[in-house]
């Protein structure tokens, strides 16, 4: 007896994946459009506040001894590109890496003289037109030199 239909084409049906692929593609495109993929942000923290002329950035607590200030005056370079930073015991420099080295040695001098790091405060005195990116570079140099307190002062 001849069995009919044995040679018929047999489609491998299984679950229909088309709706799944549709939905998944829609989700993928939504995520790609709606998501924001910015670079990693860093935050330079300061609790010192801005130091106004002759005053402090924040009110002193009762019995608190004012910090010893290490002032750094910052101006634009003469050619308008870069900065010049200088202060007491800090020769004029336009290089943040060099400034960091100087600050490391200044911190060591203070520590050797018995002044603890948390009693020191680096105060940045920028000129009015100094660009923010230079201030951040100097702020970072002070952080790398292991100073714990860094504050901005009003412009000169």
């Amino acid at each position: 007896m001849k069995v009919k239909g044995a040679k018929k084409v047999h489609y491998d049906s299984g679950p229909n994946m088309t709706p799944l692929v549709d939905v998944v593609m829609v989700i993928l495109i939504f995520l790609m459009l709606a998501g924001s993929f910015g670079g990693v942000s860093r935050f330079l923290m300061s609790k010192q506040g801005i130091k106004t002329s002759g005053g402090h950035g924040r009110p002193l607590k009762p019995g608190e001894v004012p910090d010893i200030n290490l002032d750094i005056h910052i101006d634009n370079a003469h050619d308008g590109v870069g900065f010049v930073a200088q202060g007491t015991g800090i020769p004029p420099t336009a290089d943040a890496d060099h400034l960091e080295e100087v600050l490391v040695s200044r911190l060591k001098q203070f520590n050797d003289a018995g002044t603890k790091t948390d009693q020191l405060q680096v105060v940045l005195y920028p000129g009015r037109h100094v660009k923010y990116k230079y201030l951040i570079a100097i702020y970072q140099a002070a952080m790398q030199a292991k100073f714990e307190k860094i504050a901005f002062a009003t412009s000169h």
């Binding site: 047999h10 994946m17 709606a34 300061s46 801005i50």
Partner: protein
């Protein structure tokens, strides 16, 4: 003897299994990496300076983000979220012979309604200090001393050169 013939098998189309594998991986990646619906009122036009130091903040509760952009005027353009909407906030509003300080008002209100308030400053890297100073003074007047300067991870290159990626630490 009759020979038994197996039925002919035929695939019904393109094999989508590898496609689904890859697409699922992409979806999981985007779900983990993308920040959807989380906004601090960041302005994309602010070009942040780059640093290699600095903390990575995970918790943005009790923070107020101020975008500070340079202008040709005395005061910078300050933008922040007010009632969930980004708004330009003037530092000094001189109208009708009186001077109002809208930014100071917002900062004082923020301090009054939050414990341990913190201001995040997203200032443009080319902002002049005189313009940043007025924002910092407003923070000081509002008695908010906890300030974080937001930067991008990386190393700032000399002017006129292209940016290079951050060194891996």
């Amino acid at each position: 003897m009759k020979k038994h013939v197996m039925p002919e098998m035929k695939e019904g189309g393109v094999n989508v299994t590898p496609l689904i594998d890859i697409v699922m991986c992409l979806i999981i990646f985007f779900m983990l990496v993308a920040k959807i619906g989380v906004t601090r009122g960041d302005l994309k036009s602010v070009v942040l300076p780059k640093t290699i130091l600095g903390k990575e903040l995970k918790d943005f509760s009790n923070t107020l983000t101020l975008n500070v952009l340079p202008t040709n005027l005395d005061d910078p353009q300050v933008t922040t979220l007010v009632d969930g909407q980004p708004r330009d906030i003037k530092i000094f509003d001189r109208m009708g012979g009186q001077t109002d300080q809208p930014l100071l008002r917002i900062l004082k209100e923020f301090k009054a309604t939050h414990t341990d308030p913190k201001v995040i400053i997203r200032a443009d890297k080319d902002l002049a200090y005189s313009q940043l100073e007025s924002v910092l003074l407003s923070c000081a007047d509002a008695e908010i001393t906890n300030v974080a300067y937001e930067t991008k991870e990386g190393k700032e290159t000399p002017e006129g050169q292209n940016d290079t990626p951050a060194p891996q630490q």
